[in-house]
Amino acid sequence: MRSDADAIVANHLSYGYGNQAVLADIAFAVQRGEFFIIIGPNGSGKTTLLKLMSGILKSRQGGLDILGKPIRDYNRKALAKCLAFVPQTIPTEFPFTVLEVVLMGRSPHLGILGLEGQNDLEIAKQAMAFTGVAHLSHRRLDELSGGERQRVFIAKAVCQEPQLILLDEPTASLDLAHQTRTMDMMEQLKEEKGITVVMVSHDVNLGAMYGDTLLLLKGGEIVSLGKPEEVLTFQTLEEAYGCTLLVDKSPLGNFPRVTPVPRKFMLYV
């Protein structure tokens, strides 16, 4: 299944803490320039998988190729040049400004002191304008709202000029407006710059609306992998989440809409 069109290829990938297997024999491929969303219940191994792909965790079993090369053949800096990771939160005890944080995205491209040149500043400014935080560039990170902070982290990832961006539940603590704004932004990155976006998300409906491919995990194994309408069916979702769900067609277009069914409505389903 290896091909040049693939950004990430996982083969027999396993990972465990002690005797506990978190991921068992996973295989999938992420194509270049696609929006790939990993969904699944809590503890299904989503975040572990994302950390393996970003090189934070190292797998002892199985193969993982990034852009056609085994991840273990990359040194840290080389990987950082083609892959950016956006964690859920970033500590803010030390009051860096927005510009300082975004400029840090340049460091894989620079020497050990990370001395930024005019060119780097230009890239940082473009990244900030893209995510809509340019007006905040001299504000301190700890003064910003959650949504603004998220956009700063994404600007930092964009500033890194990667071919792949990996995000760990970027919409988890955002309101509806910020959720769609973040997702729109990632879609725009995909379409305008051809960046491959891999995202862990709890929100299956965001996955349905934006994802080119969804990966549904449960207990460290793949339940389903494919287009949203293939993955988000009543059967697969019930198998993964173990609760009653209503799946119908979204009024917005040709993709499924998932509605969890509260107990009081159970009689009518």
Partner: protein, 347 residues
């Protein structure tokens, strides 16, 4: 560090080769401050000497009072240089601990690292070692031991929790003090008085050779830390972020912790316990310059040196007769600051 004065940062707008420009401006201004303070340190003391006498002595004019020239060159000059080195080492040490442990309250003395070094140093002294390399080596061993202990004690489920870290440090400090008292009371010789005076942070018995060795040992450490200063910035963005930005976290952390412990131990071996020095300058400078460690590291070295010279100067001129240990002054200034910072970080 959540609530801070919103001071304007120096030259932040033009941004780029900006960093070097900023570094130059900051370093130069602090260097001028340092030189001014050093000059003051040379002028003042129990034997009154005017500014002119210092200038004469420094420029090597023979028309000055030879006695005065000797005092300035052989007593005050090494002492002032020593204060600069020690202040720089402890301030940079505080800066590094604060960044690595991501705790604005971390400081070699508070974490018990200095205490461990002191225990090691006293053992070395009692075993009759010379200051270099014997006592310095035992001090280093002591500080590494406490560093390991404090990290082991405070790393639980979530690595290095804020409160656990400080509590472990306080506990270790108390334990080290007890061992020091025990060792001191076991010693029955004439060195007792000098040990106690040394313990409280003393810069009075310094010769030029000692200053030379210390600077030869400290300068490579400063350069190494400056070299890793951008990695420290990235580490403050969280371990996962730093790792995916190309930082070898383990190598950088271990190198920095060992280097700072080494710096702290050799200053302790020479000048005893000077508490809270690593708190004052890093915080003041972070407030003025922002948290970029590429600027803060040289700034803390220069500013910390100046701060220590002032503390030592106060220790020399405040008492009516004789002098007090410089550690008394640093604690009087530093301990209240610690409490203020603690209150602020609790909010």
């Amino acid at each position: 560090m959540t609530r801070q004065l919103n001071l304007k940062r120096i030259s932040h707008d033009a941004a780029v080769p900006m960093l070097l420009k900023r570094l130059a401006i900051v370093s130069l201004s602090l260097l001028i401050l340092l030189c001014g303070v050093m000059l003051l340190g040379l002028c003042m003391g129990s034997a009154e000497s005017g500014f002119q006498a210092v200038v004469n002595a420094l420029t090597g004019k023979k028309d000055g009072d030879p006695m005065m020239t000797a005092i300035i060159w052989q007593l005050r000059f090494p002492r002032v240089l020593m204060a600069v080195l020690v202040g720089a080492a402890l301030s940079v040490g505080g800066l590094v601990f604060q960044a690595l442990l991501r705790n604005p309250l971390a400081e070699p003395y508070i974490l018990g690292i200095s205490g461990g070094a002191a225990v090691g140093a006293i053992i070395g002294i009692l075993m009759g070692f010379s200051r270099f390399p014997g006592v310095s080596a035992t001090a280093f061993a002591g500080s590494m031991m406490t560093l390991l202990l404090v990290i082991l004690m405070s790393s639980g489920e979530t690595l290095l929790k804020k409160d656990a870290l400080l509590l472990s440090g306080v506990m270790l400090n108390a334990f080290c003090s007890a061992i020091i008292m025990f060792l001191v009371s076991m010693a029955h010789d004439s060195r007792l008085h000098s040990i106690i005076f040394w313990l409280m942070g003393d810069l009075s018995i310094v010769d030029v050779g000692q200053v030379g060795i210390l600077s030869a040992l400290l300068f490579p450490c400063f350069i190494l830390i400056f070299y890793l200063s951008h990695a420290m910035n990235l580490l403050l963005m969280g371990k996962e972020m730093a790792q995916t930005m190309g930082v070898n976290i383990r190598a950088v952390t271990v190198t920095l912790l060992v280097t700072t412990s080494f710096m702290v131990s050799i200053t302790v071996a020479n000048c005893g316990l000077l508490g809270f020095v690593g708190l004052v300058m890093p915080h003041l400078l972070r407030l003025l310059l922002g948290p970029d460690h590429r600027v803060l590291t040289p700034a803390c070295a220069l500013g910390g040196g100046a701060y220590m010279v002032v503390c030592d100067l106060l220790a020399r001129v405040l008492p009516e007769q004789g002098e007090m240990p410089a550690g008394v002054i640093t604690a009087i200034i530093g301990a209240p600051l610690f409490i203020i910072l603690l209150k602020r970080s609790a909010k």
